[in-house]
Symmetry: C2
Subunit: 255 residues, 2 copies
């Protein structure tokens, strides 16, 4: 008989679907494609021209963000208020956009805080380029990621509670997990509450347990945060027990 | 043989696809669904809280739109500048949003026009509810349409060049075309350059030519804009000629 999709002849054992299901599936596919077109056109409408690309294309900005790289900071965290604003240009933005994307910016801009009055927000421990990509995402829901930028943006997204961006970066980093970077990603995921990345890097580590202890990053992690190393071993043991239990059940079935 | 989709038995003449194509189609469907999920989550992120729903949820508004219904207007078009602003509340909005959605608002707000200085825009020949729905769409790409609202919004969208909204309304109205409203929609589509709606209503009219001339709306249209009526007859004749030509070709084939 003949396949209605590829027009090739096939034998009975290679049968896929009946005619009715084939037609239904084709209709479903058409419907899904129409929905995608509709969603894409609404996305294009809702995207806003980003002031990070071209200030002229996005006028009426009423806010300026200044990146304060980690090296300019006098101490850890927020006590660096007296820090000199570096020479990189400010990133312009609109209060309404930042406040609608991030509850942290929102609180900052609505409660009579210094930032709300002056329209100037200092963002600590971040480079100008990362800040620019961060603001760009707030307008467009788009970012051209590499692993470093994804990590930097994830940290910012966590700090300012931009959940959608955090999930976007986490998904990207998770897709890049391999044996070489699994320890670093595992520790990073722990620090920033990135569950999907944690599971992926832990799974990669467990698949390569025999060489784990030889790695330089492993020794560093034992030194710096031994509890995380304990969790790797606990997860590994847990998996071994479960696999063994699974095998026992299998044997039981076959008897 | 058995259908892998509905699990029912079927005969050779009811064959749909081979196994390979079935699996490929299932994968495609999964991919499309994943894309839809991704697009939906980006849409949710890009939607903005609309100040038409709750002013508190969208602070920093720097613009007020006033609806001036047709009955308050002293004359046709723009000479109604001295018109009293009615008692309905103003619709608050943000310059950055209106300017990014509509080139007309953009020009108004960027060139040193009265509206830009005062932050007050009068929208003529429109009710408060329609204006509210119009502004709401600018923030959310959503509107709860009925035929009247869709027509009113289409007119506003055309005036302020919000293409996405115009297409959205036109699609909705087109889905409602029937023999009873086809003349009205045909004339409306002509007035506002709505091509898809024009074709749908013209096609509906041509399918009911025998009763066309008896209709009250037809007589009104002949009175008001006879050229539009001529276009209906021209299109009808054109279709008849094409159908006849098609039949001739058919006969030729069968000989």
């Amino acid at each position: 008989m003949w396949c209605q999709s590829c027009k090739e002849e096939y034998e009975e054992e290679d049968a896929g679907t009946c005619k009715e299901c084939y037609e239904e599936a084709s209709e479903t596919e058409e419907e899904l494609k129409r929905e995608i077109d509709d969603l894409r056109s609404r996305l294009l409408f809702l995207r806003l021209p980003s002031p990070t690309l071209d200030a002229a294309s996005a006028p009426h900005t009423d806010l300026f963000l200044h990146a304060i790289p980690a090296c300019s900071s006098t101490g850890a965290g927020g006590e660096a208020d007296a820090v000199r604003v570096p020479d990189t240009p400010a990133v312009p933005a609109h209060r309404v956009i930042l406040a609608s994307r991030s509850p942290v910016f929102r609180a900052m801009l609505e409660n009579e805080m210094e930032e709300s009055r002056s329209g100037i927000i200092k963002i600590y421990d971040v480079s100008y380029d990362v800040l620019r990509a961060f603001v760009h995402y707030m307008y467009t829901a788009e970012a051209l990621l590499d692993e470093q930028l994804a990590s930097d943006l994830l940290v910012l997204a966590e700090k300012y509670e931009v959940k959608h961006l955090k999930a976007y970066c986490e998904k990207f980093i998770t897709s890049k997990v391999n044996n070489d970077n699994a320890i670093a990603h595992y520790a990073f995921a722990h620090r920033h509450g990135a569950k999907q990345l944690l599971e992926a890097s832990l799974s990669e580590l467990m698949n390569n347990m025999s060489t784990l202890a030889d790695r330089e990053e492993y020794k560093e992690l034992v030194e710096k945060d031994p509890r995380l190393v304990v969790e790797i071993y606990e997860a590994y043991l847990n998996r071994q027990v479960n696999t063994a239990a699974g095998k026992d059940t299998d044997c039981g079935c076959r008897k």
